[in-house]
Amino acid sequence: MPLADALSFLPGLATAAAEPAEDAAALRRLAEWCSRYSPWTAPDGTDGVRIEITGSAHLWGGERALAADLTARLDRRHIATRIAIADTLGAAWATARFAAGKSPVILPPGDCRNALAPLPVEALRLDPATTQGLRRVGLKRVGDLSAMPRDALTSRFGEMVARRLDQTQGDSPEPLSPLGEAPTRRVRLSFAEPIADPADLLRATERLVEDLVPRLARERIGARRLDLAFHRVDGRVERIRLGTARPSREPRHLVALFKERLDTVDPGLGIEDVILAAFAVEPLHPEQIEFADGAQGERTGGIAPLLDRLCNRLGLAAVSRLEPRESHIPERASVRVSPSPTQPCGLGPPSPAMRERVPSAARRVRVPQGGEGLVRRGSAKPPRPIRLFEPPEPVEAFWLLPDDPPFRFTWRRRRHRVTRADGPERIADEWWRPEGSGAGNAVRDYYRVEDEEGRRFWLFRAGFHGADRPPCWFVHGVFS
């Protein structure tokens, strides 16, 4: 019915613009909140939430108690609901929407067929065209369909009718795809009175970790990813997700990781449930852990616990190691890689960077301020700056002859007069790399220059003399 018609019938009609996106988001939040009852929850269409309570109803004292708890909590938030519990997803869907009787409707196990028979065919989750077709030939109830031969139904209305019928009656499976990933292990803590104090949150976290750790220990696994969900009174869920560098079930370590992030949790008006879930788990044998001595417990992982703490607070990309690579391009010769906790720490054999360390100027050339020209070639590696700027910073430079270093340059609004210089050291691009070819400064001539104060810079000239554009100068690094 168009809005104008409706208003003509009832002028005082209250109206609001439809906001499907907002509604969907709210439904999703509700589904997420429902994860206090089971890890498998998902929004269902535009007006429902599915919860798989197999195996979790007993935690609430049975299905009826669970439904009562759910109803009470939703009533408190002024959400009108109809709740149905049935053997299959389809049956629960149909019962919630079409069955007579007061919510919650709980179908006894194995009773799907009889209970659904009197319901209209709309209860089968079919598209409107199919339901209309069924009604036109006089098939109005689900029970009417059950009696029909399957071949006739399928040839007339498509295979969807038969499939929905089977799913609803439990003859073919219909798995629920949950909102999030289903956790491997899960522990829950509920509060009669909502908590909001940071100290209480920490205590709750400690309790949950203490609950979870023995379960992991029993199965000889350690968690790689953990999710701590705080269910607020107003239905929002605040989460702390964290990962560990290696599987862990060390309570002190896990609590320390969560503690670091607890201040990001906004308790709002209070938190009524806290759920800790372990996702990725890996085998972790008891001998790798020392439970006996708390102070020694962290020592086993070497620096892994430290890396975890740093990564969880600053981000994975923030923590890295320097690794030498075979490249003559300065910025590619030393790359940052993410640290691996399995690598032994301390004194191993020296890395390649240490073995080939023979710094000495490779070539020397004339400097404008005097001194005779001299070029000396050596096989030793030329020195490299201790700070390398990425990207190189442009400078305004003055030079005399094409191959000369500048005699003066201005960098960061400061003028430097060059008193000594080494170079050039020509570094060409790695033409065999696809991304390197055709760059503007593909060939660079590097100079090590010293200003009158004794500061030493690594300058390079990009571009050639005689090209259509004059060469530019950059500072690429600072020497010690």
Partner: protein, 257 residues
């Protein structure tokens, strides 16, 4: 208890307070008599906080401070196990130059954090962790309380900590440079024109002026040194200091807090 009974106890407490940090965890000698003489215990105190400043335009880049620290760290790593945790605001530390100063880049865990409080937090975490031999942090602003926390954490864990001061510009450097903090020593490194090699042109051996501005239990001093880089083992060579600017007398040994 009589007043006489209190006295020895008080004396003992004062002695404990005055005890230079060097006496707690031992020292790392520079191997150069002139410098080691100036430091209580004959070397750089382990398990303590040391502050290193750059100078003369190096306040922003901290290249000299990093190189000076790398040399010390290289010698520190040679005597023990563990990793170096190096937290810095910009990832501009270059591996092969660290190797040239004696510090194997494979022994470094780099932590990049944009804000000073995060860098200080990372340092403190490192000072409490096993498997760490030394921590380095490049910070601009430093509250006295934060430095005190670091110093206490270093003392407790026997992990040596280095604060490299890196300022945005000269203005910030001027404001921050002289503020007191709890570091056991404060060093300032300045570049000097390099010493030409046998009259050849070009950049010679790099030289530094190393100033010990503050030292708990010692006296300020200043040396001109040449960075030895030909030998693998990087240290400060005092050969030049004997000829040029004479080192400040460091014979007197003052015991102060």
């Amino acid at each position: 208890m009589t007043e006489r009974g209190h006295l020895p106890e008080l004396r003992e407490r004062i002695r404990r307070i005055e005890r230079p940090t060097a006496a707690i965890h031992g020292v790392l000698p520079f191997g150069i008599a002139a410098i080691d003489r100036a430091l209580p215990g004959g070397g750089l105190a382990r398990g303590a906080l040391h502050e290193i400043l750059g100078m003369g335009g190096d306040e922003e880049d901290g290249a000299l401070a990093a190189a000076f620290a790398a040399g010390i760290l290289g010698r520190l790593m040679a005597t023990g196990n563990g990793m170096v945790l190096w937290s810095l605001p910009r990832p501009d530390l270059y591996g092969s130059a660290l190797a040239a100063h004696g510090l194997d880049p494979a022994h470094i865990v780099l932590v990049r954090a944009s804000r000073d409080p995060e860098i200080l937090w990372a340092m403190e975490e490192g000072l409490r962790a096993p498997g760490i031999a030394a921590v380095v942090g490049e910070v601009g602003t430093l509250a006295a309380v934060a430095s005190r926390r670091l110093q206490l954490a270093a003392e407790r864990s026997c992990i040596t900590a280095f604060l490299l001061r890196r300022w945005r510009d000269g203005g910030q450097a001027a404001r921050e440079r002289n503020l007191p903090n709890a570091a056991v020593t404060r060093w300032r490194i300045a570049a000097l024109p390099s010493q030409p090699l046998r009259g050849e042109p070009g950049v010679g051996h790099p030289r530094w002026r190393v100033e010990l501005l503050r030292c708990r239990g010692g006296e300020p001093a200043c040396w001109e040194v040449e960075v030895a880089d030909a030998t693998g083992h990087v240290s400060l060579a005092a050969a030049l200091a004997d000829r040029s600017a004479a080192p400040v007398s460091t014979e007197k040994f003052r015991r102060t807090g």
